[in-house]
């Protein structure tokens, strides 16, 4: 029998006899003969564990840019942060890893309580009273937030800052094909969103937005004027969705303080490996007014029949399996394990650690940026202030520089998309708390040579 099948051949024979069958083949008598696969699957024969590992290690070995070989200066929503042993050990516990969605709360209090604690932490970070159990990633959280806002306002026009991650905006466009939302990108001026005056907006064709989406800080690392976005919302009745960097949020005023209706974010920074982009963690928090439109799962506290504290998924009537075609979100499976991991990591950081993490990122970023803009031919891409990430304008294409820098032992950053003016010469650089002064100094020297 196959690798993970316990049955012996004798046991299979006994079970078949119990069913009155002679062969395994007869189990599939209901499948029309003409449709059945008349050959074996054209896949290699099953391999033992050492051979499987050897194959996967060979593939892994072909990745030159791995954080233990190239020093990582790339960000864009995915960061090389410290993941302590305690987070790895607890987040890897098989009770959390190998359980299903907590449909039976009596035997799922572990996951339910961990998610409740996660929701509390995200809510505090966001400055908003409700947070869900997670969405797939930052981009999917943004898509769901826009859907919530459109449903709440009844207006399908979406104003999205060009300072929102380009991939998030591409996702908004993709899903708008089904919902019919009209996505309008609002350009940046020197790094900050230049919101149109809603009373004097010839390009808008008279359509008031139902939602504004702004990054804080934005994709270029700049600290947006969220108050201005709030003011546009107040004048138009649109909802404000803030796409927050949850690490920078350790130092910045919260989305809630700025008057956001919804905060979304990419939660990878809290204990999840770079992992080539997934699984990550979509963060989602909102004001009390919108709780019944909250996408995804929500854990609430209650009691059991003995009046003991207990947790359960709640407001289930919002969800797809009950509302079916009337549901405003189809999310079922989410990223619960990453949410539990984030709760562990935020427990490890604690109140002082989150501030310290964010401060260390910001100070290393400042140190690196000051040194880099002193190099010949390298300029800041925009002038606005930044927290933990920044863009540079290089004298040569960024993609070329990234290639050259790999030979010097660095993943230099992300080449900016062409949509930004001079984008091909733009390099987005992130400096986390893990980068040492020596690494940064060596990076600066290497970049100076790479652009020459």
């Amino acid at each position: 029998m196959g690798t993970y099948i316990p049955h012996t051949e004798d046991e299979v024979a006994t079970m078949l006899a119990f069913l009155g069958l002679d062969s395994v083949e007869q189990l599939f008598d209901v499948v029309p003969e003409a449709l059945r696969l008349q050959r074996g699957l054209e896949l290699a024969p099953g391999a033992g564990e050492p051979d499987v590992l050897a194959h996967m290690e060979e593939l892994a070995g072909r990745n030159r840019a791995r954080s233990d070989r190239l020093v990582c200066f790339a960000g864009g929503g995915a960061y090389d942060h410290e993941i302590p042993s305690v987070t790895r050990a607890l987040g890897g516990r098989s009770e959390f890893v190998t359980s299903y969605t907590p449909y039976q709360p009596e035997v799922a209090q572990g996951v339910l309580q961990a998610v409740f604690e996660f929701q509390t932490m995200v809510s505090r970070l966001a400055g908003l009273p409700v947070a869900n159990a997670s969405l797939y990633d930052g981009g999917s959280a943004a898509v769901e937030a826009v859907n919530l806002a459109v449903a709440a306002t009844g207006r399908q026009t979406v104003w999205v800052s060009a300072g929102i991650h380009p991939h998030w905006r591409q996702m908004l466009e993709t899903f708008a094909a089904g919902t019919g939302h009209r996505i309008r990108t609002i350009p940046l001026r020197d790094g900050l969103t230049a919101w149109p005056d809603p009373d004097d907006d010839p390009a808008g064709g008279g359509e008031a937005p139902g939602v504004l989406l702004v990054g804080y800080p934005n994709y270029l690392g700049c600290i947006e004027d969220v108050a201005e976005a709030r003011s546009v919302c107040d004048r138009t009745g649109a909802l404000l969705v803030v796409g927050a960097d949850p690490v920078a949020a350790g130092l910045l005023r919260s989305a809630g303080e700025w008057g956001a209706d919804v905060m979304v974010g990419e939660g990878q920074a809290f204990g999840t490996t770079l992992g080539f982009g997934g699984p990550y963690l979509g963060l989602f928090a909102c004001s009390a007014a919108h709780v019944r439109r909250l996408p995804g799962r929500l854990v609430g506290e209650t009691v059991d029949v003995e009046d003991r504290r207990a947790y359960v998924t709640t407001l289930r009537a919002r969800e797809q399996d009950i509302r079916r075609e009337k549901a405003t979100s189809n999310v079922c499976t989410n990223q619960t394990l990453m949410a539990v991991t984030a709760a562990i990591q935020l427990g490890w950081l604690g109140t002082s650690g989150l501030v310290e993490l964010a401060r260390r990122c910001a100070q290393a970023t400042r140190y690196a940026r000051d040194a880099l803009v002193g190099l010949d031919g390298i300029e800041p891409f925009v002038g606005a202030s930044v927290v933990r990430e920044f863009a540079l304008r290089l004298p040569v294409p960024a993609a070329l520089v990234i290639d050259r820098m790999a030979d010097e032992g660095f993943l230099a950053g992300i080449a900016l998309e062409d949509e930004y003016e001079g984008g091909s010469h733009g390099l987005l650089v992130a400096v986390t708390e893990r980068r040492t002064r020596d690494e940064i100094d060596a990076y600066v020297t290497a970049l100076g040579k790479a652009v020459a």
Binding site: P105, T273, P279, N330
Partner: protein, 514 residues
């Protein structure tokens, strides 16, 4: 076998979780209640970067006045807290989890090792293709394997879960019809479908048309013929369906849908039943999503991460989400991989490349099993489900009394009418026996449904123990006074919870407690 006699399987009870911590009775305080001002667990690398204060780094108008209040605990307290929480959690590693439609099979540990390889886990997603050839090769290898399993031409690996795959498939359907110059408004789904199907249809911009099941538990062909017209963009089917039954008329369904220009979407929730036996592509499907966290054994993480790749037939390949990893030089010795966005792509459906480490686990699982091993999975999954069906026939109602595939739907209807015991009571009572409960009240078309999916990784001894527990529960239902069953479970970390109160008085965070 089949006698109810444990001795015939060596007496091992198998698969029951009866370890003490899970039966513990004390509440675990929240991390916030364990907090003690001044305690800390964090430590960071010594970097030598010149120190700067927050005041120097952040303009005052943007600076947070107070830190985000999190818990303040020692590392030791943190470990104790989450370890105790883990003891209040049932899992596949602890015992059998016959949750219908969820394919809660054993998750091989080698896949954990794979997901932790530094050369996979340590790669930034924005790394250029030239520096991440191993990852692109891995994605192409998985793409090709999934296409072989499903009989399709190419796949996108971006969707992060089954529902994300469904919506991706519907957007592919929409793009394809638009490219034919055809505007269609309706998508047909059977009344036995998963709730994500109708929700995804709505988000895809289509109207749901429901077709009933017939007395065999399959799509009612006459009713289908009535709803099919040139306004139908396609049909979404799960085969075997959510009753665990194979839609024998699938070829006729495919012909009828294609006749009006519609497309067939295969919901892969139940793919485990047919691995290597019959392929969606050969049944006539145009779009297929797979749940790697079901069929390909990637762990479900208490509610995710999953992965929901979507494979399509040749004519839909140009519409797939992008970018996709593709092999651009077919030189066997030194193939080169590149990111390519298909010419008429519907766009991006994930921030990066999908749940990549989940994809790596799935590839490792496929390699470990191989082609023959995958077929054996289907065989034993179907064997186990039929054994349970046969064994429990007479004890519970079997609404559709014919051979099932990988899962069986029983009903508690007769017991309920006679003694007032419901499917929910049976499920809660089974928790007390050390098994996870089956799926209950689904599919919606079966009264008091118990949906049992044993999976191929549960041994005959475990099936025996599970069946014996379900028989004992039925006996109790028939003999104990009314209301007796409602007292269970008694020894789980908490007993039945007040779900109505949770919704009425919403407490979604620690701060919302009164």
């Amino acid at each position: 076998m089949g006698t109810g006699d444990n001795a015939s399987h060596g007496g091992a009870p198998g698969g029951k979780a009866t370890s003490a911590p899970l039966l513990g009775h004390d509440n675990e305080p929240t991390l916030f209640e364990l907090s003690h001002p001044g305690r800390r667990a964090w430590s960071f690398r010594t970097t030598g970067v010149p120190e700067r204060s927050v005041e120097e780094l952040i303009p005052e108008t943007h600076r947070r006045a107070e830190p985000v209040p999190l818990a303040e605990v020692s590392e030791r307290d943190l470990v104790a807290h989450f370890t105790r929480l883990s003891h209040r959690q049932f899992s596949v590693d602890l015992g059998a989890y016959p949750l219908g439609s969820c394919t809660m099979k054993y998750n091989p540990k080698v896949c954990d090792t794979v997901a932790g390889l530094p050369g996979l886990a340590g790669v930034h997603p924005a790394t250029p293709a030239s520096l991440s050839q191993g990852w692109l090769a891995l994605l192409v290898e998985l793409d090709e394997a999934l296409c072989e399993v499903t009989g399709m031409a190419a796949a996108t690996l971006q969707p992060a879960a089954g529902a994300a795959g469904e919506l991706t498939g519907l957007l592919l359907m929409r793009a394809w019809h638009e490219a034919q110059g055809s505007v269609r408004h309706k998508v047909v789904i059977p009344d036995s479908a998963h709730g994500t199907n109708p929700a995804s249809v709505t988000l895809g911009g289509y109207e749901v048309v429901t077709v009933p099941s017939d007395e065999r538990g399959c799509v009612d062909m006459a009713a289908l013929a009535d709803v099919l017209d040139e306004d139908v963009a396609g049909i979404m089917l799960t085969n075997p369906n959510t009753l665990g039954l194979f839609e024998e008329d699938i070829a006729a369904i495919a012909a009828a849908v294609h006749e009006v220009g519609g497309l067939l979407y295969y919901d892969g929730a139940n793919l485990n039943a047919i691995l290597g036996v019959v392929r969606p592509g050969d049944m006539g499907f145009d779009i297929v999503h797979m749940n790697l966290h079901k069929t390909f054994a990637t762990p479900h993480g208490g509610g995710g991460p999953g992965a929901g790749p979507v494979a399509v037939s040749e004519r839909l390949v140009p519409f797939l989400p992008g970018p996709r990893a593709v092999r651009v030089e077919s030189d066997e010795q030194s193939p080169v991989y590149e990111w390519v966005t298909p010419p008429r792509s519907i766009g991006r459906v994930h921030t990066w490349h999908g749940n990549a480490l989940v994809l790596a686990r799935a590839l490792a699982y496929i390699l470990a099993n191989g082609g023959d091993g995958l077929r054996q999975i289907a065989e034993v999954a179907v064997l186990n489900a039929n054994w349970i069906r046969q064994r429990l026939t007479g004890t519970y109602d079997v609404p559709f009394d014919r051979p099932c595939m990988h899962e069986v739907v029983l009903s508690v209807r007769t017991i309920k009418l006679a003694h007032g015991v419901r499917a929910l009571d049976v499920a809660k009572r089974l928790l007390e026996e050390g098994f996870h409960a089956p799926t209950v009240y689904f599919p919606l078309i079966v009264d008091e449904a118990l949906m049992i999916e044993p999976t191929e990784t549960e041994s005959p001894q475990t099936l025996e123990a599970l069946a014996a527990s379900l028989e004992r529960i039925a006996y109790e239902a028939n003999t104990q006074p009314e209301g007796w069953m409602a007292e269970f479970p008694r020894h789980t970390p908490v007993r039945r919870v007040d779900e109505a109160r949770a919704a009425r008085t919403l407490v979604p965070t620690f701060d919302a407690r009164s």
